[in-house]
């Protein structure tokens, strides 16, 4: 396993570095991946790094090199819990967790979400659930998720019954203002989709090592060094 990974890293070094991926990330998240000098503080604090195919610092390096296989296609981006330890500790003030979010969005946008990442599907069901009801319908979330993975579902039956007995599962959804939710979601999706399509086209024309401000880049809120 370990030597396999090293082989991949060595292969990757021979690829032509490209700034296109970094430019897309910068445009979507406002974060500049080239600020990273690979101190690996993100990886040492990451709770799921020991379980991933790569760790956060490797993802950052891959992004700098424009290596999509090691970043967009990694299983790691679907293991990230969003705990924000990396973001909190980064000496360069990079919002690393936000870059993981961005990589997920790029994977979805480009239709390259890997099959062995159940969290990807779980997040999609979750998004559709709160979008539909105005509030998250937890039972729907669990049932739709586990229906696709009957083998995994078996492991949760006992727990489900216990939770049911304790009145911790609400059978019917509670609803927010559904009309307002639909209107807001549509507006936000329209604006974001337009921006993303533009960023992808703009990034495709990027020269190698593009670290300067990109056309669609939005300055970071709050201002970090």
């Amino acid at each position: 396993m370990r030597s396999e990974r090293r082989d991949r890293v060595e292969e990757d070094v021979t690829q032509t570095p490209s700034g296109a991926l970094a430019a897309r990330i910068r445009s979507g998240s406002g974060e500049n991946p080239y600020l990273c000098y690979l101190c690996k503080k993100c990886s040492t604090g990451c709770p799921v790094a020991p379980f991933g195919d790569v760790h956060p610092a490797q993802v950052m390096r891959a992004v700098q090199l424009g290596d999509e296989a090691m970043s967009v296609d990694s299983r790691f981006i679907w293991l990230c819990t969003g705990c924000e330890t990396c973001t909190t500790r980064c000496p360069q003030g990079i919002d690393v967790a936000s870059i993981m979010d961005e990589l997920r969005m790029i994977a979805r946008h480009d239709g390259r979400v890997r099959k062995d990442a159940p969290f990807a599907r779980s997040l999609d069901i979750n998004y559709r659930s709160f979008r539909r009801w105005g509030r998250l319908y937890e039972l729907e979330l669990v049932v739709l998720d586990l229906l696709k993975r009957p083998k995994a579902a078996l492991g949760y039956t006992g727990l489900g019954i216990k939770m049911m007995a304790r009145g911790k599962i609400r059978l019917l959804p509670t609803m927010g203002d559904r009309g307002q939710m639909k209107r807001m979601a549509r507006a936000a999706e329209r604006i974001e989709a337009g921006r993303r399509a533009e960023a992808k086209v703009a990034a495709a024309g990027k020269a190698p090592g593009a670290g300067g401000p990109s056309a669609g880049a939005r300055p970071k809120a709050g201002g970090t060094p």
Binding site: F51, T81, N126, Y127, R135, R166, R170, M184, A187, G222
Partner: protein
């Protein structure tokens, strides 16, 4: 009597009903009047910010603008740590002009920040205050050893949560001390329990949960106090699974901070929802 807007969030209406009812019980005892935001929506949670940044900021901004313009209040209590984080995120994002303009377009009215967002710990520690809390205690704990678990989203990232010490926070410790518990000094206060992955990657989650609970136990804790519905259900419910492979596992009760505070203030056990926990907490509370 102080009045606070109240945003329960989705979990408090299903898997974390006892957080809703125990929080409510303590607020009544502490003379805080809670006004639920009418027609509140989901804050978007992790699924929101990993799919659509704009919607993820606009959803909580929409609630905050309701608090300010419709309810005419200046602060909102958000007991769910995940929701709290999204709300603080919205307050942070509107600091950026371009983002604020996009948010206003989605929400339909402008919001420029300014509504104070209080998590479960903040409500007791900052709004009520330790002295006032102490003065209302009718059944003080006799030194119950409690590990205060803050998890991820109460304190991280500090530029968003505005937490004073994101690596070793102490406000929850001060609250449990005020009601007669002894907070233990431990390492996993702000470790991640992996709750987001609880359905998808149970093997990973069980390792994280084991690490956190074992650390608390080794430091002498008799119970873990938490302020997040995802942490509570994850730490509480995974223990049954862990026991299947670890015969020597000793159960650790996982309580909401509001349940401990409520107990000391004389809120009824029924309202505290103590029977909803998987690991029975009543033995350590006796």
């Amino acid at each position: 009597m102080t009045k606070l807007a109240y945003y329960p969030g989705c979990s408090l209406h299903s898997t974390a009903k006892e957080l809703d009812s125990s929080f409510d019980g303590t607020m009544a005892k502490l003379d805080v009047d809670l006004a639920e935001i009418p027609g509140w929506q989901c804050c978007g949670n992790s699924a929101g910010h990993s799919a659509n940044r704009l919607l993820a900021a606009a959803l909580p901004a929409n609630e905050l603008v309701k608090v300010r313009d419709d309810m005419k209040l200046d602060a909102v209590a958000v007991p769910c740590a995940a929701c709290f984080n999204r709300f603080q995120g919205a307050n942070h994002e509107v600091g950026d002009e371009a983002m604020a303009a996009d948010i206003a377009q989605v929400v339909g009215r402008p919001y420029d920040g300014g509504v104070k967002v209080l998590n479960l710990v903040d409500v007791y520690h900052d709004r009520v205050g330790l002295a006032a809390l102490k003065s209302k205690v009718v059944k003080p704990f006799q030194g119950l050893q409690v590990a205060c678990y803050y998890g991820c989203l109460l304190t991280r990232p500090p530029k968003v949560t505005l937490a004073e010490d994101p690596e070793y926070p102490v406000h929850m410790d001060a609250v449990v001390e005020a009601i007669g518990c002894t907070p233990v000094d431990w390492d996993s206060k702000t470790a991640c329990c992996g709750a987001a992955l609880t359905l998808c990657e149970p093997d990973v989650v069980d390792e994280l949960v084991k690490g956190i609970i074992t650390n608390a136990r080794e430091r002498g804790a008799e119970a873990i106090a938490c302020a997040c519905p995802l942490c509570q259900i994850n730490l509480d419910s995974r223990q049954g699974e862990i026991k299947k492979t670890d015969g020597a596992w000793v159960d650790m009760p996982i309580l909401y901070l509001s349940q401990l505070v409520g107990r000391a203030l004389g809120v009824s056990d029924e309202q505290l929802g103590l029977k909803k926990a998987m690991v029975d907490p009543t033995k350590v509370l006796a």
